[in-house]
Subunit: 323 residues, 6 copies
Amino acid sequence: MRQVYINGKFVPETEAKISIYDSSLMFGDMVFEMTRSFNKNQFKLKEHLVRLYDSLKYVHIPLRMSIDEMEKACLETIEKNEPFFKETDEHRLMINVSRGPLSIYSEIFDGKLEPLVIISDFPLKWTVSGMGDLFDTGINAVIPSQRAIPSYLLDAKIKNRSRIHYMMANIEVSNLPGSNNWPLLLDPDGFIAEGTGDNFFIVKDGELYTPEPRNILRGISRQYVFDLANELGIKYHEKNLELYDVVTSDEAFMTGTPFCMLPVTKINGMNISNGNRGNIFNSLLSQWSDNVGLNIEQQIKTFNSEMKNYASEGSTPYRFKND
Amino acid sequence: MRQVYINGKFVPETEAKISIYDSSLMFGDMVFEMTRSFNKNQFKLKEHLVRLYDSLKYVHIPLRMSIDEMEKACLETIEKNEPFFKETDEHRLMINVSRGPLSIYSEIFDGKLEPLVIISDFPLKWTVSGMGDLFDTGINAVIPSQRAIPSYLLDAKIKNRSRIHYMMANIEVSNLPGSNNWPLLLDPDGFIAEGTGDNFFIVKDGELYTPEPRNILRGISRQYVFDLANELGIKYHEKNLELYDVVTSDEAFMTGTPFCMLPVTKINGMNISNGNRGNIFNSLLSQWSDNVGLNIEQQIKTFNSEMKNYASEGSTPYRFKND
Amino acid sequence: MRQVYINGKFVPETEAKISIYDSSLMFGDMVFEMTRSFNKNQFKLKEHLVRLYDSLKYVHIPLRMSIDEMEKACLETIEKNEPFFKETDEHRLMINVSRGPLSIYSEIFDGKLEPLVIISDFPLKWTVSGMGDLFDTGINAVIPSQRAIPSYLLDAKIKNRSRIHYMMANIEVSNLPGSNNWPLLLDPDGFIAEGTGDNFFIVKDGELYTPEPRNILRGISRQYVFDLANELGIKYHEKNLELYDVVTSDEAFMTGTPFCMLPVTKINGMNISNGNRGNIFNSLLSQWSDNVGLNIEQQIKTFNSEMKNYASEGSTPYRFKND
Amino acid sequence: MRQVYINGKFVPETEAKISIYDSSLMFGDMVFEMTRSFNKNQFKLKEHLVRLYDSLKYVHIPLRMSIDEMEKACLETIEKNEPFFKETDEHRLMINVSRGPLSIYSEIFDGKLEPLVIISDFPLKWTVSGMGDLFDTGINAVIPSQRAIPSYLLDAKIKNRSRIHYMMANIEVSNLPGSNNWPLLLDPDGFIAEGTGDNFFIVKDGELYTPEPRNILRGISRQYVFDLANELGIKYHEKNLELYDVVTSDEAFMTGTPFCMLPVTKINGMNISNGNRGNIFNSLLSQWSDNVGLNIEQQIKTFNSEMKNYASEGSTPYRFKND
Amino acid sequence: MRQVYINGKFVPETEAKISIYDSSLMFGDMVFEMTRSFNKNQFKLKEHLVRLYDSLKYVHIPLRMSIDEMEKACLETIEKNEPFFKETDEHRLMINVSRGPLSIYSEIFDGKLEPLVIISDFPLKWTVSGMGDLFDTGINAVIPSQRAIPSYLLDAKIKNRSRIHYMMANIEVSNLPGSNNWPLLLDPDGFIAEGTGDNFFIVKDGELYTPEPRNILRGISRQYVFDLANELGIKYHEKNLELYDVVTSDEAFMTGTPFCMLPVTKINGMNISNGNRGNIFNSLLSQWSDNVGLNIEQQIKTFNSEMKNYASEGSTPYRFKND
Amino acid sequence: MRQVYINGKFVPETEAKISIYDSSLMFGDMVFEMTRSFNKNQFKLKEHLVRLYDSLKYVHIPLRMSIDEMEKACLETIEKNEPFFKETDEHRLMINVSRGPLSIYSEIFDGKLEPLVIISDFPLKWTVSGMGDLFDTGINAVIPSQRAIPSYLLDAKIKNRSRIHYMMANIEVSNLPGSNNWPLLLDPDGFIAEGTGDNFFIVKDGELYTPEPRNILRGISRQYVFDLANELGIKYHEKNLELYDVVTSDEAFMTGTPFCMLPVTKINGMNISNGNRGNIFNSLLSQWSDNVGLNIEQQIKTFNSEMKNYASEGSTPYRFKND
């Protein structure tokens, strides 16, 4: 059975649990990262860990473990779990760090009130299953009534667990007919922010535009699209975007660690790029695939057909419909 | 050992844990209530449960358990734990309801993706220890830089676990010298909202004022203070309050389930009521004590002297200083 | 054929048109009222006209016609059209006042640049057809992404024609499955405002609550519900309301001139009052029917069955779906 | 007599009217463009039509006519009207597209509920008369109390007819003494937005600055000034501008289709550029004149002297004073 | 010559000066009150002093002088100056308290860094001269572009000297023709706040309405109007008011210490109460006159005719026009 | 004794005072500049005067004195005072311009109501004393609850005297333990604005970032850092910055006229650059020192040791603690 790393020890996945008296449950007080591998090699693990440590600093979690020790623990976790992964699987790490138990419950924990580091390794295919079709149909990005929270109130740049409002946005969008509706949140100023687990790009006149890195997570995949754009000689811009910009764009797409890139072919039901995925999207995804040495789209579609009976974890609504 | 109710079963307190793949941990997606007893009798349990079910409805957690079944489970939990409680202890229930595991992890849970109901019973004294002195010194309410989140973005009326911003406010205030500093949050409009686990009142010209029930939890204790005011012939008002109103008030106090009422004798270090607790506070607390048949202040002070060596869970800063 | 009053003359309904160079078309610069009769008697005509003249004043349209002359013109229009109305029809007046042609087009209008008064009389049944079923199913009020415009930018209290944002809200909600979805707009502060042609009420603990009369039209029917409440000894309150208040309400309903009152039995798909219409709604509607001497619900249902093949004009989505 | 194109037919200008039951009148639900010719040749007609179709898409008006058909209809309309234009006149096209009649009035329209396309051709001189003097005196840009509406509530980038707030701003400014006062709206964030029919530029240290294209119409003339700047080697920037930037600017000007460019020599009565028009303005206007083969300033001044007795349609106040 | 009290000493009025290194000049860091007498008796002096001490507390000026000592100093100042006052004059006290010199300039002040208390006594007639006509013409209240500052940024309830924005509003309104234009500020939410030295009331259906005491000074005269209303059996309400409420009001007026009450007969140039002052205004002013034993209107008109050649200090524009 | 220039005359420093009836005291209605010399030569005097005249224009103070006359008066003031300055002192000019006395006090001023120009010359060492240590310890920048005022309400780009809110921020931060806490204000959008007398920079990946020049004073030192960056080949950016950017920055520093540059080594108590000052800071300060021909840090430290017993005027809290 898969094993989960908890503060230096490994426990079976079914036992990977956190006390109800931990700050992570009491206050949504936990920061985390989620990674993936390509051909079993972790992608941008260091970048994920740097972001994790930035989050830790921001929320004042006094973790003593160094970033190098954290990286080592990640790799050890993968090694431990590889035997339980199929040849074609990929390693999706989830790295959680909590402040630890609240002090008034000290007695229950024998006085140990230290931060909690949990690293789990899960087959990527479960996460992306159901997304295979979206490479063909594209996503219908839908502006829900739920707004993104401005960063000065609760900063989305901190990848943290206080995000029930993302769940609310997911539920809201799940009321629409169709299975390709993903929420795309506006912030209270009416600017496009992000999805509930993905960043958003448009293409206009051959150049990339993505929201200013303010009320959003500064995604590792988002950054990698910048790198790909540089590689391909495509200009990119971080700008305040509005619904009008999306409606009048030439292409649009989402980025996220598990699926890398998915085309957005509709906005609030209106066609973008005549409802087809665009050339720039294709170039970027193709370059990404080349760089990591596997056909990303093909891999996810393969996962998809294996998993047809399961729901996926993306921003898609059925995640909670089935719950 | 104390036992915790989890979906119909009882487990030892040390085993009361939630899977890392549960929606409560992944999204801060859990609603809850915290109650207390007086002389071992639960206070306003029904009101707490009604609020819990309102929260559940709002966040679309499809719990099948009825409110009566929930009440029964609460009482059963107390019965189970009473043997482990001292004569003088009080029962502090924590009732958590999570949406349950995310569907992509279905396999791990043998396909059981139902909501999770957890009821724990903990001696109140741990929670209120350290608050005994505050009846004498009073709280110094401090406006932190962290603002309350407007309800249309993340509704504080839903008693939920996505509240890392409360932790941030606590940490911010903990940087001040002294041990009686509690945060008092403004909302982005500059109106007084609430503490990070307590409601706020002022007294002016013999009448009570408390913020409009908008960007705050509509506290059960807050409501009970209204009832006490009616009993005592004191007028009360729900109004937008500002720092100016607090600075120029005659008295101020906080309310919260574990401690009922605590005097606020300073605002940002400025004296209220010359730094002493006021008469209206005394009348209300005295009436409350009469109504429940025990001296609340005395009880907490007694807990306090028993527990001197432990930190408390209130909004006080050392909660995380020791963590 | 029905005749329409235009600046003192009557023209056939098919010729009731406005020049493309009129300020009403160039700037959405027209104020209006819509009324209805009960048993052929105009209801609250004077109140509608007072509001019309308040709007005229606010937007500085220098109409020379007095309010009494306007009333007379309304009655004359009805008299003229009564022959074309069935026995069971009701007179729905639409009174439009425009600033008139822009001055640069003066030549086209022979230099006549005066305001334009248009009074049309249309059978009510067309407007309310399709609403009959809603008395039974109730409306599902849906919060769209489109927000109400704050009154200091464009005042909804002025019943004017610059309201394409209402059309946008209607379209947004029309994407949901079902035929009983009506938009219920939040203002940018997150407070419930109004529908796109109707006011909103909730009932809680036997008392009525409706939004403060700020970012909404101060509806004549809304005011009449206050009158009915007084008649029936029901307390009512104008207060800032939020989604939470609606979710936790006992009943909810919409008011509007053509249909008077319609029950809201769902909010964002969640049941209110277990999905049934409530007792207070019934009492109010029954009293209203008594006061005007006809069964309102019955009348609309009768219209409904007559008109089954036509779309209605309410806030319902098919209004534009069919266009 | 001049003829107006309406859904494929031509009618005399005096008969170019829209039913009172059309969505354009009921909801300000119409999008439009206004163009001009130079020496009888339409300027940037294609750019105007692209923007028109973007607006149509945004507001979901399902027009079946293609953009090429629209262009053809425009040219046909000009051809039809040329005989009624003097040698020196220019063709100002106004292209309106409405959603069409509301469905409940279907009977009146024999069931034809299709969108309405109206193309009118009007001599430009009427529009710009009265502006000739402004090339010499310059405009006094005045910040009115009326704010621009943020685009997420009602998007100024959609050239639509719901804009009574522009009329309100015009009226407000008309109360000031003098005939060269034009409103310059701030958005609610205090940033300079636009006039009520014109875009705004400042010059500082030899470079052009104009507001970010957010709460404004993205004017065709505004874009053309960018082109001219490129031609002349002048740098330009789209930036958030504030009153301070205008007060401390070296030059300022407005742009708009009918008049191309007009100098702004005062802001709230304070001199800019010592109250004179500036060199960069002169260069740009001169280049524009060269590019289109006629002296723009001279042409408008000539129109002006012909028309002295008429009011103009610009943002100037007497437009409604005379109405 | 009139004498001014400065920290316990009296100096001639021409020598009543403050060092350029005082915090009052460096930071606008001074709080103050302005009072008046009726028949030489100070009106509500105690209320003014209570407000002064509230302001002092809020801004943390550590004044050692007690409120009773302050009152004594005020009376002593009047006594000192009475010889220089005509029989018909009234005593207008201005009480300033500054934090004192900044510490780095200590040497200049021989190390004395204490707060500065200045009490000056000035004939009221200068302040109200020019207002006499306004009892007949009424004020034209004008909404300027300048907004009131929300209290959480700079609290108008603190009567302090950091208010250059009031001067800006005065200047803005002074650009309008006529001599009865007074600014009436909106706050950023679009609610009516106050004038630049006066509170605002409307009358609707026989009841008084005035803005919630939030982004305004809580005027002593405003409070006294409440007292008068109680005396006369007139209901009053503190409510959020908007331009619409003013436009549709039956009467309106301003209150302020020097002039007590002045009618507002126009809002943005539109008539209120047909441009006449109303009955409720008359009743209140008459009662006020009775209560203080002199005809207020008559007194100011008499001052007015004496002073015709001087400008007044109200919110009227010529205050700075002449400067 | 040092002499102060007042409207063309020189008076002893102890007599440099302003009437209590001057607009500067009544309304905080004064604009100013503060400069410094290096080796007795004024630095960027012209730039300061240009900004002063921009401020004067913005607030409509009709000063007749030309900018050249002003410069001359400044130099004359220095010349006059040089005899009273030690060899090692530097000349810190403070140039104040007030609108002058309010017109109703005309009589007191013999009818002279002209603007007031005051130029004082003070030894710089007093201002920077106490800052010497900060070059070593660095500043702990603290986000206070007090927000910066948005420029459209009260523009920080106008260097004016209505800034009691800066004093409030200073006081708030002074409650923290330690002597190196300086406030760093957020604006209401949550963006970093400035200190209460200083601009703020961060360094990230070898490039400089400083807030957009919106809700801040556009500091002369801030601009000079841009010049130094150009000199050293360091890229710089004006961008919206948030707390997250500061927390994750590589270095940070403040700039201000008296002290030039001071390192910020903590933000809200969290280390930046491990609590040390950074290399880019060192390069910039070193270049600045080279350019002006003296070691800035050394000079301030020398002042510091001379003055140990005095408080400094920076944003440090003891400024008012001692008052």
